[in-house]
Amino acid sequence: MIEAVQKETDIYLSNFAQLERELADEEPAWLRRVRKAAILRYFELGFPTRKQEEWKYTEVRPIARIPFKPAQYELDGLTADKLNQLTFGNLQCPRLVFVNGHYSAELSSLEGLPDPVEVHSLAQVLKEDPDSIEPYLTRYADYENHPFIALNTAFIQDGAFVYIPKGQVLKEPIHLLYFSTAPEEAAVAYPRNLIVLEGNNQAVILESYVGLGERKYFTNLVTEIVAGENAIADHYKLQQESREAFHIATLQVHQDRSSSVRTFNVTLGGALTRNEVNVVLDGEGADCALDGLYLISGRQHVDNHTRLEHAKPHCDSREIYKGILDEKATAVFHGRIVVQPGAQKTDSKQTNNNLLLSDEALINTKPQLEIYANDVKCTHGATIGQLDQDALFYLCSRGIDKATARSLLIYAFASEVVNRIKVESVRVELDKYLFSWLPKGHLVKEAV
């Protein structure tokens, strides 16, 4: 059985051989070395199976079965106007657009960025000044132990590189928009984002992944955020891939002393989604908020795996993931908190709440604490429930029709986590989506 999976996934080896030929010797030796090590590691690990604890509830065989080719830049009639109609489209902020994983200069706009801030496509940096990113690129997300990070690393080509020097406070968010036009042939893209806050500075980063229609494609992405001393980063990721797409993502966050990172992970699209969020609190007094919302139906499957490592003392973390599942949707939440020896005065709280709207929806939730220090405060809790029938009746008994009452309660459930979004324009956008997703959402909008 394992052999069969290996064979199906050999396509990645031949894709890699072709990439190497194309790149020839145009890239720095250090990157070539990493690439080779990563593809080798992928070859050794293979696609994960459900026998592995970390993949027990998520079956990736459907991805392995399809011989994905590297995605090509293809606009397919896409214009900046069309993009403006998508989520965050009307935000007035610098925007990097990627089409099928490749940077699109014609659709991007970097106006309004202060001079010392560097925002480029990774492809450009790799071509013009690769050594400037050597200290960061591939240093945080661990490809040794994860086949999909290994694959992404082996195929690094494009993505966003954001560098915010000391002292810079960015007023506007920076939006990284990944759009899939999904041509006929099944294609895979490997976005790789590197966001570095040197320290004592502040920025908001939005990532969105959008695909229209019903086409099958595969996004395998890695984002690394490095928050230096006293840096403040707000990170939002909105996933609205096509309903047939596969989306496997790793967000790797590394935090230095007194830094503060909030990351919010919203999953709406995709057939199969795996989000891994790994945060290392590696300096005293750092804090992080790790939030997520998944709103799924049909046969969608979403797996959120978070790992929060308290490596130093006096760090705080707050995590709330909320899920709303309808029809035959399935989800997994696995939240691990690791408190390393010496990380005293850790204060950590994790919550996962799920609302099941149908009898056939299914959630597996598993909080996990590993504590190796003795003076810490860690709590976790998970709930799974249905709509409160008493609340529903209460609303109806006042004249509100059942569909609206239901939507009101669903919205109320989601709003606890949505209201934690600090950036108003992002919150408004997400609310807008929620109202459009909910039956009679326009009435809910008036009522909240």
């Binding site: 409160d388 029938q389 008493d390 609340a391 009746f393 209460y394 609303l395 109806c396 008994s397 006042r398 004249g399 509100i400 029709d401 059942k402 609206t404 009452a405 009101l408 309660l409 919205y411 109320a412 459930f413 709003s415 606890e416 009435l443 008036e446 009522a447 909240v448």
Partner: protein, 255 residues
């Protein structure tokens, strides 16, 4: 306005109401009294349309319509309001906006225009004063973090805003201190009119000192065992409910 005929109601496998008859005309105040477990709250909930109860026999007619065929939200729109014995907390839904949505749904049914934000605000202010409701409560989520008394006052506040034709108070007095009880009673009394009827469900006679009923019905073990004027309530307060059981049994024996 309301006519209940031989109403039998089951919750699960157990029959709770064994044939209730009741007639309420516009402008009247009826009190339904009875001990715990007599079926008072069941009757109130059935009138509001609670689906967890099964009506196995009998009928309820409201303004000539078969009430049992009407969904809870439509009953509300037709002018029925129940003040809950245990008001539900709904985190995330604001009191004000929820009430505005409710009011507009009801106005729409009556063929009236929706209220705009300013008119609504004025209406709410007026009724808040009537029920002595703290302004802070109104912008909070529905009933969330309210004390027991605040929840009950909030029910009557909603009643005052929605102006139903038939108001059912399900043990609104339970757990209220005397000051809160007076406020609630004052609110109810100010809403009494020739077009509006009240059914006051209560365990205790105390509230009836402030809301004077036209009729008192005593519910015992799922049946109305006695009906009378306000004097009946005072009698009950003196003698308790236990003598009713004996009287019912002996009445059945005679029959």
């Amino acid at each position: 306005m309301l006519e209940i005929k031989d109403l039998h109601v089951k919750a699960g496998d157990k029959e709770i109401l064994h044939g209730i008859n009741l007639k309420v005309k516009a402008g009247e105040v009826h009190s339904i009294m009875g001990p715990n477990g007599s079926g008072k709250s069941t009757l109130a909930q059935v009138l509001a349309g609670r689906e967890s109860y099964e009506v196995t026999a009998g009928q309820i007619t409201y303004e000539g319509k078969d009430l049992l065929q009407i969904a809870p939200e439509d009953r509300a729109r037709l002018g029925i309001f129940m003040a809950f014995q245990y008001p539900v907390e709904i985190p995330g839904v604001s009191n004000t906006y929820f009430l505005k949505a409710a009011l507009n749904a009801i106005r729409k049914e009556r063929g009236e225009e929706e209220v705009d934000a300013l008119d609504f605000l004025n209406l709410v202010k007026e009724k808040m004063e009537l029920l002595k409701i703290d302004e802070k409560l109104i912008s909070r989520p529905v009933n969330e973090g309210f004390s027991g008394g605040e929840k009950k006052r909030n029910e009557i506040f909603q009643l005052a805003v929605l102006e139903p034709k038939l108001a059912i108070l399900d043990e609104t007095d339970s757990g209220l201190d005397i000051d809160a009880l007076k406020v609630v009673a004052h609110g109810v009394n100010s809403l009494r009119s020739k077009d509006r009827a009240f059914i006051v469900v209560t365990h205790y006679q105390r509230i009836l000192n402030y809301i004077i009923p036209d009729y008192v019905h005593v519910l015992y073990d799922g049946r109305v065992v006695k009906s009378g004027g306000k004097q009946l309530a005072i009698e009950l307060e003196k003698k308790g409910y236990s003598w009713l059981g004996e009287e019912t049994v002996s009445a059945q024996l005679v029959n």
